[in-house]
Amino acid sequence: MKTIYIFSIILILATGLIVGFAVSKNNNEIQAGTINSQTKLSVSDIKNVSLKSNVSNTGITDIVAQLNNGDVQTIATYNDIYVDHYHPIEYLNGDVYVIRRIGDPEVDSGWTDQLWKIGLDGSEVMLYAEQGIDFRVSSDEQYIAIADSTAIGQVFFINKDGVKVKSFLLNQLAIDPDAKDSEMYSWSNDGKSFWGGVYFANQEDIFQISVDDWTVQKFAFDGNLHNHDWDLNPDINSIVYSDYPSFGDATDAEDFDNSTTVTHLYLANFITGEKRTIDTAVAKSYQPKWISSTEIQYSDPTMGELKSYFL
């Protein structure tokens, strides 16, 4: 009888340890990928990091580094990177941030999108998991702005350890009560402010969140953020944008291109309210881009070549 009791105790303890370890392991390293231990790269070696389909295995994705010497080197390989995401990866200071989709939504109601941070030293850590996530990492990696589809319009911030430190509801970011959702744009270079917008409203608003005191500045924007024909410069609180319309389909777009409607390219500063016209054309878009805080480059509407505008 005594033997049975002792055996039972050992069995229970062993089972508890095994199950507990397995669950814990599953939480932290779920479907972990393969880190290339031969990489031995330093931050100064790397020009850029991107995703690439594995040449020999369908459905496998490599995280590859384009090196300054022209070489390409694989950092890690996963079978679940959410490559269809419009913004699946960021690379900053030797850290790769990538979204992995765990589980198949068609058959698994518990699927999640997971944000992982992968270091050049082979380290990997999951920072956040929820269904339908989007993210932007600050340049100093102190904060990550996150949006997930379970809280529509909400933007919140996690720190570098993945701990949620601040949340903003849609009505804290939008001026227009009709706004249906928010979207994330970018951080300022100093990592001090984060910019985003709200949409599906009577007008589109832009917001700026300062991480020093978590204050929000909201700006009623008179332009069209739906047309892709704009570029924001968070460092000087400015936007270059056009009044080129947005379209419902390709037929609408082609009809407009054949019209005589004049389009304008504008430069505006959110803080000062200053707005000036940079260029005009007939039925053209401009695809403007900030090259620096003093130079904007855009497609010359008459020649189709790149043109610079200096502030």
Binding site: K2, Y5, S8, I9, I12, L13, T15, G16, V19, G20, F21, N27, D84, Y86, H87, P105, D113, Y128, Q131, G132, D148, S149, T150, F156, V163, K164, V165, K166, S167, I175, D176, D181, E183, Y199, F200, A201, N202, Q203, E204, W214, T215, V216, Q217, K218, F219, A220, L225, H226, N227, H228, P245, S246, F247, G248, D249, A250, T251, D252, A253, E254
Partner: protein, 263 residues
Amino acid sequence: MLRKLTILASLLFVFGLMIATVGCDSADKTVNSDSVVLNDDATNHDPPDYVEGSITIDSLNVLARARYEEDLQNGTFAAAKTNGWVFNINMPSFYSQIEPVWKNKALGYNKCGNSTIGRYGCHLCCVAMMYAKWGYSNLKPPNLDDWSHNGWSHYAFFYYKDCGDLIQIPQALEYPAISRDYSYYPKATGYDKIYTALSRGWPVIIEIAYGTGSHFMVIYAFDGARYWVLDPLRPPGQGAISLWGTGYNSRYIKSIRIYGHHL
């Protein structure tokens, strides 16, 4: 003694499991203070864009009511309504563009890097709902988005314009390899076609002015006073809503489309 040890071991077992489980949520601590400064000086609320030569949703409902009254007087609808509906077309699926599964999925060729189904995919969702009605229940918005055909990786989209995220009709209606008719009525030219299409059991795609762009929905029913739509901007499972009192009324019609048929 041994019995106590057994109980203790069981407690340790449960405790071990608790630690493991708590570990799952260690990153989900919310600190939500209210230190938000609002810019109260900001101006707000221009009326929805006026579209020259068009009419509002409100007017659309008024015109439909008049048409219905006329039909009743003419005896066209002797039985009036069925279960409260004049027309109520069975739509097998509602696809929300903000469905978490595909909200952040890149739309079309996404050449600009910021096109998503959640932001720009209302038309795609409407076309996918039409496909569900035509029997292609597996062709959900992301599948239609990625549909490769004739050597094009996103055949339903026009590569050469803007960011490659604009649906091109009729290509988007060709799945899997079938040409389908469609009618397109810009601005107010198609307002009277909606009623006729619904009477024939054909859903109608409506494009309205919405913010700085357009929004697409599927009109599938008429209750004698208002049209009803499946609005892709609404959350999953909550797509059906009347075209009244929800911010739609004063918005202007940009186009009316009937996919799969000619009127």
